[in-house]
């Protein structure tokens, strides 16, 4: 798998929610609530309408009973007395005043029938079957079709009783207009109410479903944004229900995902854009992942690498394959900086520096090996160039040191000559003394030997000086070894002591007799110390020239050798362990170094001396020599009253 695949997204997943629109929670909830509302309305209608109709019929029955009772009460006496004119008149009056009453039929027990209707009435001697008195004297009503008025009526039967005796029956037909009107009104009201309830139900269902699905849609929206890569998306839900808890969990998950993904993308970017090669090899040695740098370096495409054995790349196929044996690799854990030769697609052999580590999961099961390789070609070329430069630099430095030596020798020549002149003068004096003694013949053998003895001593001294001068001036390579610091100091003074004496510079030595051997090159170190002593001399002389009073403040050079130890604080700063070293302090009471120039004194060609008196290379060369010795050279202190140079050199373990 290439790294670019990690960012792939699915457009189909994005489109899926819209396709599920009609099957979504919103629609289903809305439909459920809508059907629920509809069901309630239907049930209510089914229950309420018949009850309402029953109530209206009961009201009709109540009206019929009331009117019947009234007629019965008013006409009771007339019925008994067969005062039919009163009955007729009253019945017609009742019908006239009650438009709902379509007919009143009074049947006497002797089957005399009076039929009253709006605007007409009639009398019958024998009743029709529907008006038969019969034995059923119940008060009852029903809706039926009446042939009398040719329409459906509420037909009510009422027994006519007087003094506890049944005298006949009364039948009353009530118009259903009221019932129908009420039913129409009720149907209209119920319809409107139903529509209103349905509308409210629809709106309620819509808003409830919307309220219910809004958090879900918000979650969906956030999920889509996350799917498109916007990991900053959060579900804006503040409810306290399960969806609110889900939103909190979702947000927490997204936050973690964001962190993880950002880290992953970060790592992916690193892997993708790193210049070094990264290859992941499976347990069976197949290439599972290779970054872009790998393809660029080796000239392979992604398909040409993935799934291929690692031996495709490396020259030492068998050997490297062995190194990738997981059993052994797991034990070792990793291998580092192994120089290998990789084969490019074109067959070019590319030197690489390979490191690898076992990649295991949380349960420590081996997943593969991560290999990181560094193209060594430029590095090798650089190293070769650097080596060449270093060699040239070493040569130059050697020449420079030699030149400095020669310069020092030249500078010390008068002093050396004077140093040699003194024993020569001693030898000459002895010679003249011997020659005079011989001329006087008063010189015995023993006395002669006694007088010649200083000659031998002075010639030894001269030989010593010359030999040292010759050793010092010899151009030689760096030869490290245990050297005596004190002796090097003495050797340095050997060539310059006479000059110091001439310039009335007092030399005070404070050597540590137990100073351990220094690990270094005595010749080069002597050059360093000689340079420092020479600079001290010049500084003292410069001060004397400035003050013009030589006797006022005699020149003084103090050389101290001692053991030292780096303190823990400094060691921790330098990242080194504390260690012992030899410290050499060279202190003068010269003119000092201006503060603004202290930082530059070790720079090449920097000098505070007058033109023609210094090359500006002395301290620079000394700095290089001390650095070569893993030591330190610095200005310990400086002021117009003098300067102290400090040299620290590692001692031999």
């Amino acid at each position: 798998m290439m790294v670019s695949d990690l960012k792939s997204s699915s457009a189909e997943d994005m489109a899926a929610p819209s396709r599920r629109k009609w099957g979504g929670i919103f629609f289903r909830t809305f439909l459920l609530l809508f059907l629920l509302s509809l069901t309630i309305i239907i049930i209510f209608s089914v229950v309420a309408i018949p009850r309402q109709k029953g109530a209206i019929i009961k009201s009709l029955e109540f009206e019929a009973r009331s009117v019947s009772a009234s007629i019965s009460q008013v006409c009771g006496n007339a019925i008994v007395n067969e005062d039919y004119e009163f009955i007729v008149e009253h019945s017609l009056e009742v019908i006239r005043n009650s438009p709902d009453i379509l007919y009143i039929v009074i049947v006497s027990r002797n089957d005399f029938v009076l039929i009253h209707m709006a605007g007409r009435w009639e009398q019958k001697e024998k009743p029709d079957p529907e008006w038969a008195a019969g034995s059923n004297d119940a008060r009852m009503g029903r809706i039926t079709f009446s042939n009398l008025v040719g329409q459906k009526v509420f037909h009510y039967q009422y027994p006519l009783e007087y003094s506890g005796l049944l005298w006949g029956k009364m039948y009353m037909g009530l118009s259903l207009e009221y019932l129908n009107k009420e039913m129409r009104t009720m149907y209209r009201v119920m319809s409107m109410l139903g529509l209103l309830c349905l509308l409210v139900g629809i709106l309620g269902a819509y808003f409830f479903a919307r309220q219910l699905t809004r958090p879900v849609l918000s979650l969906l929206h956030s999920t889509r944004k996350i799917t498109t890569g916007d990991l900053s998306a959060r579900a804006e839900i503040s409810t306290n229900d399960e969806i609110g808890a889900l939103a909190v969990s979702f947000n927490e998950m997204t936050e973690k995902l964001e962190k993880t993904t950002v880290s992953r993308d970060y790592v992916t970017n690193i892997i993708t854009n790193m210049n070094d090669i990264m290859i992941v090899v499976s347990q069976d040695g197949a290439i599972q992942m290779a970054n872009r740098a790998c393809g660029d370096l080796l000239g392979y495409t992604e398909d040409e690498l993935l799934g291929k054995p690692i031996s495709l790349i490396f020259e030492e196929r068998k050997g490297f394959a062995r190194e990738l044996k997981f059993d052994s690799l797991i034990n070792r854990g990793a291998f580092r900086n192994v120089e290998k030769i990789a084969h490019s697609k074109t067959g070019e052999k590319i030197p690489i520096l390979l490191s690898g580590a076992v990649m295991a999961d949380d349960e420590n099961r081996v997943q593969g090996v991560i290999c990181v390789a560094l193209d060594m070609r430029e590095r090798l070329e650089s190293e070769a160039a650097l080596k060449k430069s270093y060699e040239e630099l070493q040569l130059t430095q050697s020449q420079l040191i030699q030149s400095a030596k020669l310069a020092s020798i030249g500078e010390l020549a008068s002093g050396v000559a004077h140093e040699l002149n003194q024993p020569l003068m001693v030898i000459r004096g002895i010679f003249q003394l011997v020659r005079r003694s011989i001329g006087k013949n008063n010189l015995g053998i023993s006395e002669l030997l006694e007088q010649l003895e200083p000659i031998e001593r002075n010639t030894k001294r001269m030989m010593n000086i010359i030999n040292h001068l010759r050793t010092f001036s010899r151009q030689s390579g760096m030869e490290f070894g245990p050297v005596d610091g004190n002796k090097i100091i003495e050797d340095s003074l050997l060539m310059i002591r006479e000059q110091l004496r001439i310039h009335d510079i007092q030399v005070k030595k404070d050597p540590d007799v137990d100073l351990p051997k220094i690990k270094g090159d005595a010749n080069q170190l002597e050059q360093v110390f000689l340079n420092l002593i020479t600079n001290a001399r010049d500084a003292i002389l410069q001060r004397s020239e400035v003050s013009g009073k030589k006797s006022e403040n005699r020149g003084r050079l103090e050389i101290i050798t001692r053991m030292g130890e780096t303190d823990n604080h400094q060691s921790s700063i330098n990242g080194q362990q504390s260690q012992n070293f030899a410290e050499i302090l060279i202190r003068d009471n010269g003119s000092g170094i201006p503060a603004d120039k202290v930082g530059k004194i070790f720079d090449p060609f920097f000098t505070t001396k007058e033109v023609g008196k210094g090359t500006g290379l002395g301290l620079s060369i000394s700095y290089g020599i001390i650095k070569d010795h893993q030591g330190e050279i610095s200005v310990a202190e400086t002021s117009p009253r003098g300067t102290t140079f400090r040299v620290r050199l590692p001692i031999v373990d």
Partner: protein
């Protein structure tokens, strides 16, 4: 159901309403013989013409209409009810009543005692100003003339003097004794319709009813038309009249006449006419009473009394 009483009552109230509507300067027409609290127009009414009418309903409806008219014209009026002829005659003579509604027979008697001026009578819904009184029997009884009714049961509203006048005239014309002596019993009924039903249900042998009541009953129940028959009928006569005192203010009388004539031309007037089951108001002439006057004269003649004279002014 219509009755003469309703007709008279309706006529009575329309006269009142007309008076209120068109009497603008009420103060000018006050009678000088009365105190200052006396209303501008006092109308006397004989309750015998009401028969079965509900006075309360009619009065309430009329007073509403009068209130509107009175507010418009500033006229005040009063209704006085009477139950006997002598009282209303005395009130008219004393000038305490300016206008009255009575049966035609009472009017003729009053006009013999006092100078009067005819005003109106109502036109029935059948567009007739007059009516006839009928002597009715069951068809299956075999009665064909009044002679057959001797010692039989008669039923009719005794308060209707005209009915009794017609019956007695009929009996006298046939050389028979007057009703109390001819019939075995005379049963009183409040309305003509009840009288008809009594005969229909065989509770009486004969009845007197006006032609309007009989036709309405026959219309309500065709059996009545088939099973009952008319064996005698009166001439067409005006049953009730409204009239002024002759001495009453001429201007007010004119205003009342005009108002009544215009009643049918207004929506409010027509509505009120419908309420009283009247088609219109008719301004009477004295000649309109000739038939009644002839009947009364015949009766008096047969009885040997002085005939009724015609009104001088209307002649």
């Amino acid at each position: 159901m219509k009755t003469c009483g309703k007709l008279f009552l309706s006529l009575f109230y329309f006269c009142i309403l007309a008076s209120f509507c068109h009497t603008a300067r009420a103060g000018e027409h006050r009678s000088t013989v009365h105190d200052k609290e006396r209303p501008d127009l006092v109308i006397g009414y004989d309750v015998r013409v009401l028969l079965d009418a509900d006075i309360k309903d009619i009065k309430a409806a009329t007073e509403i209409w009068i209130g509107q008219v009175a507010e418009k014209n500033g006229l005040t009026g009063e209704i006085v009810l009477y139950s006997d002829f002598d009282t209303i005659l005395k009130q008219l003579k004393d000038g305490r009543v300016d206008m009255a509604t009575t049966t035609t027979m009472d009017y003729l008697h009053i006009s013999e005692e006092l100078e009067t001026e005819l005003a109106y009578s109502g036109i029935y819904s059948n567009q007739k100003l007059t009516k006839r009184y009928l002597l009715i029997v069951r068809s299956d009884t075999g009665f064909v003339a009044v002679n057959d009714l001797a010692r039989k049961k008669l039923v009719f509203p005794k308060t209707d003097d005209v009915a009794l006048l017609f019956l007695n005239t009929l009996l006298l014309r046939n050389k028979l004794p007057e009703a109390p002596g001819f019939f075995s019993s005379i049963i009183d009924k409040r309305k003509f319709s009840q009288a008809v039903l009594s005969v229909f249900f065989r509770q009486a042998d004969a009845c007197i009813a006006d032609d309007e009541a009989f036709s309405i009953m026959a219309e309500l129940n065709p059996q009545i038309g088939r099973q009952l028959k008319i064996i005698a009928a009166s001439p067409e006569i005006v049953g009730a009249v409204s009239f002024f005192r002759k001495a009453y203010c001429a201007k007010t009388k004119a205003i009342v006449r005009n108002a009544t004539v215009d009643l049918v031309d207004t929506a409010e007037g027509r509505q009120l006419l419908t309420m009283f089951k009247l088609a219109d108001i008719y301004p009477l002439k004295d000649s309109d009473l000739d038939s009644f006057r002839s009947l009364l004269n015949e009766y008096r003649r047969l009885k040997g009394d002085v005939p009724v004279r015609k009104h001088k002014r209307d002649n």
